[in-house]
Amino acid sequence: MRRALWIFLALVLLVACPWIGSRPPGEAGDFILWQLRVPRTLMAALVGATLSLVGAVYQTVLGNPLAAPSTVGTTAGAALGALVAIVFGLSASVGGLPIVAVAAFVGALAVTFLLTALAANDRARVDDVLLMGVAIALAAGAISAGLQFTSDQIGLAKAVRWTLGHLPQVGYRGVLLIAPFTIVSAGLLLSQTRALEALVGGEDLAHAQGVNVTRVRTLTLGAGALGVSAVVAWCGPIAFVGLLVPHLTRKLFGTSRRVLLPASLILGAVFLALCDTLSRTLVPGREIPVGVFTAALGAPTLIWLVTRRT
């Protein structure tokens, strides 16, 4: 009952987001509300939901509270792809899409599928998979840093802005573009709920109970990569959402995967929509990149959550 109330309150907040903040009266105001803020809130909800659900699933399947889209290299791969496009000054578009987003999508997918291929080995231990993810993330980060070093001032400024994480004004078209990826990704991940529940008891126990451990690992890493790649391709690496929201959800809703996973999805949507609303209203006339906001808010919250447990 209390859980349902929490979810309801969160959803009310989400719906209220576009109406927060000042807007001019009349037609201009309506345009801002319906053509800018509503699609942007929808975008924030999709992005937050995807990052949080994938974070919750990765934490389960990799058996580690630090697992998240950012710690297994997905976001680092996206950043690398985006930087290649930015630094080499590619401003063309592919099929009407900005090439930076396409490059980021390809980079994220490539990096995560590399990890998935390593994880598909029966003999790969779960801790090794996470370590390989961290190593891949660091390598991609190093190449990105090298690229930034060689780029000119304009490219550098663009790159820095991209890596901060932001929700671009992409309208309904952007929402419609990433929605299929995030929906397929979420559907595949949620279909593995029972297997993930068994995995909490460790891979040996899950195997004994009939879970095909390697397949679940490959499928969830791959499905997560699909959703996260689409999301970060547009928005850049928005920090901390995939790490913080699952921990927060566990605190509020307990550890049962069949509650934790959908609740992470919903709270993630609300959390990022709220952060985005704050980031555009806090300093009038100037927008703080939402990635800065989530990190500034997320890091202390995570520390607070951890210290409260002990």
């Binding site: 058996g63 029966d122 909490v200 126990l205 899950a206 195997h207 109970q209 879970v211 095909n212 049962s256």
Partner: protein, 316 residues
Amino acid sequence: MTGTVDQNPTPGRARSGTDAAVLSNVHVVAGGHEILRGVDLSLERGDLAVLVGPNGAGKSTVLRTLVGRIRPTQGRATIGGRDVSEMSGVERAGKVSWLPQIADVREPIRVLDLVAAGRFRFRESQVRSETAARTALETFGIGELAERRWYGLSGGERQRIALATLWTQEAPLLLLDEPANHLDPAHQIDTYRWIGEVVRGGGAEHGILCVTHDVDLIGWLAPSGSSVRIVGISDGRIRFQLPWESDDIVAALSELFAVDFEPVDVGGVRRLLVSGAGTSHDGARSTGSRRAGARSDDTRNDGNRSSQTRGSEVRP
């Protein structure tokens, strides 16, 4: 194909014998070491077998291979004549369950959720899974732990929860790796008595293979004298398979562990107590393997003798 088995949660209905788990000449190499060197072993309903051997003998690896967690480098692991690795997870879980030595639970999960996960193979609602999980917890006398979290439980409570998880799976063959680990003496004896009851009282619905190096506990499995098969393993080879009542068992175990055991009758339960440190390690092992090989002719170990002799030269 697989559906017929999966949809039948009552293990007793299937014909006994067809679902035997068998290792045939299994070799397992891991990390450059040959952990199993030609193991032949079978387990079927109605069997109560105890796999004993010193540390590092390959006991746990035998179980991991039987349940398909490791593939044999050479040889076959089959259930009902089919390779374990070719079965779907759900189909395999309907035939054999496994209590791993270490429960690697990484979150403060609710006990009921952990036990209910044992029902993975059944396509059923969460409510039914939880009902079955509660029943299993009651069976092990720990119904009050259902809402507790994994962190903050004692080692003994965790061990009994793990057994309840295994029990909810309703597989006919149970592989138990040190089921009395972390338990106090009273619960150790309870657990071993329970294992004996499962096999004896279940109308041959279950077969159990139990790994231990605690020889003293074996007596509690069969206080009424029913048949317990003792399988001795060292250096990755089966050294003997003898009934617990056999006159040769004391000598065989003494050689296997390189200590002197002495049978003692404690209130009608035959127990083996360590009475001395035995002969030197090398001597005990090599003579042990030769004599055990000769002895096990009447069981099912014939093919192993030549390799056993070779092995004792390679590895003292």
